[in-house]
Symmetry: C2
Subunit: 412 residues, 2 copies
Amino acid sequence: MNQTNCMVAQSGGPTAAINASLAGVISGVQKSGKYDICYGAINGILGILNENYLNLSEKIRDSQTLSRLKVTPAMYLGSCRHKLPNYKDDDSAYVFIFNQFARLNIKAFFYIGGNDSMDTVLKLSEYAAKIKSDIRIIGIPKTIDNDLLMIDHTPGFGSAAKYIASTMLEIAHDTFIYAVKSVTIVEIMGRDAGWLTAASALARNEYNTAPHLIYLPEVPFDKEQFLNDIREKLKALNNVIVAVSEGIRDEKGEYITASHAAFDQFGHQQLSGAGKALEFLVKENIGVKVRSVEVNVLQRCAAHMASATDLDEAFALGEKAVSLSEEGITAAMVTLNRTSNDPYTVSYSHAPIKDIANEAKSIPRDWINPRGNDILPPLYDYLKPLVQGEVPVEYNNGVPVYMPVEHLKPSL
Amino acid sequence: MNQTNCMVAQSGGPTAAINASLAGVISGVQKSGKYDICYGAINGILGILNENYLNLSEKIRDSQTLSRLKVTPAMYLGSCRHKLPNYKDDDSAYVFIFNQFARLNIKAFFYIGGNDSMDTVLKLSEYAAKIKSDIRIIGIPKTIDNDLLMIDHTPGFGSAAKYIASTMLEIAHDTFIYAVKSVTIVEIMGRDAGWLTAASALARNEYNTAPHLIYLPEVPFDKEQFLNDIREKLKALNNVIVAVSEGIRDEKGEYITASHAAFDQFGHQQLSGAGKALEFLVKENIGVKVRSVEVNVLQRCAAHMASATDLDEAFALGEKAVSLSEEGITAAMVTLNRTSNDPYTVSYSHAPIKDIANEAKSIPRDWINPRGNDILPPLYDYLKPLVQGEVPVEYNNGVPVYMPVEHLKPSL
């Protein structure tokens, strides 16, 4: 008798929670009465095109290995940034992929990723419908940007937000030590939405009011207003700390950047230097010590500082995807709804993938102050539950222990 | 009857361990039969010149507060970068400082800091000798650079090394996910010595050989050799990760930097951009994806990732300084000697401050491979014990809880 198998892959940029969703899928399959083997495709959809698979059911059997996978940063299965063509223009990749599914008895395909990956889920779903395939195609969201529609917040965001808030507090301690006027600019990831930059405000407590200014892509950036904001804060404070999204733009929609811009395969503008640009602005116009800190890739891969809430939700979404596929759901993304904020509770559901792909969710303007340089209480209330809880990471010889990823490199 | 008091201050750049030494001093005073009050001068030696003090004996009484201080990053008492003039040229500051000591019945002054702070300890000691003061002047070392003489390693280094090694492993997970050739340059602090950059090698394990290349200030940097090293590694690996000290220099002693250089008050060249410079080199000469990551201030203030070995030693050195002062020792720095490497044990002692100030300790050349692009086993053996052990940090609302520093800012 034929096996009934499923396949999972990961795509897009890393988060600290994307392997928790993978662990959830594997756990869901272990509990499932339906699937025999869970395959993992290496490097996203490219793994299918290259016939490069791991047998996850064999590789990850015990609960200790599953737990370690849950806390391992970035993609255990590797990633890709591969955009499938429209099948109406060229269906050769689709034919190959669905032949692979048939050969391996794949009845469900789970794709863990962000906006671009949901575009792939949409295209595979449409092709499946066209050829009347019964293979279930389900997307599992992740992105530190928190900019997916139809979901209260995205897995990976809470851990990145916890890292940003904690790092902002540590930078504040680092900055307050000198009794000379200074400005510190902290550049935080976020191309189109300022969610992660806003999370830096969670560093505020009874003695720390940093970040003192917050600039988000949702509000057009005005250089003169920024300089006036800085001058105003320097009257009251020695050390002014600014949180700024990499994606801030001026009134004309031009990125505020110190360097040239290029475009990636998905047409996203590649940014660098909003922090540097503001550093130069302050240096040229205000006579105080100034530096910029680019938090860089650490904000998305610092699994040693993951949010327990985030990893638990990411895991639950992985399990949910498996159970949805068993119920016959397809062309969908698993979703997460906040059913109560205090106490914080969520429920898991799903939404049609066509309502999600290629759209981005911004911060509501009325969650940002009128001047556009700080956040308001409703945004605090939204953010706070997402960073709660710490995840114990095992250490060996003083360094965290994560899942080995030797399969990603033939020769390390 | 007159009180017998003591004073402590902190100076130089932040570390995750400098408050552990402060906690050690306070603990030493609590245990001491000699001192009534321990004063803290705010912003280093400037705190004395500005008569800005905290009564630490009053402020930090219970063991819970002391424990929290021990894990708080950067300087609880604030810092300064103030160089005292030679007293032979101008003794006015010295007269003022020793008048303050007399007014507050200070019989011992502890200065926690790096190389430049030990210069201050030396100058105060020489002045005290000249005026035949019986005030004990003792330096307590700290620096993430690990470049002080007469001590096996410096407090603050082990925590920074643990952060660098863990971060390097997380960057490796982040980097390995794409099946396209890439080069990642990680720039690590270290102006004159490569100790911290070398510690990135502790990220290596059974599946991770990153960093694949390590460039240190101890070896003259050759651009052609660097490019050949990269080309060679790219033959065997998809994703090459390079660790580089900010302070690498060419044969002529010129810094490898993408930006202009300035000089600070102590005559140190202010650096930025060794990582960027190497990124541009690879971009111009080798046709692969390349990015640079500047770890920046996080490597010195990430107290959430401190080394337990480091904090315990920093605390012990603080206590040792107090007991030395009771024994009548002055013009000295407390030191730490490695008495055994396996099992790792240390003993605490002291050395004359004149043998320490204004000198820097480099990595021995024979702990670096002949080609100058990696470290050798003796350096591993030296580094390994220093990053051992994790320090539990309390979290509140998802963010670490540190000691409030509202005294550093009159108006936050």
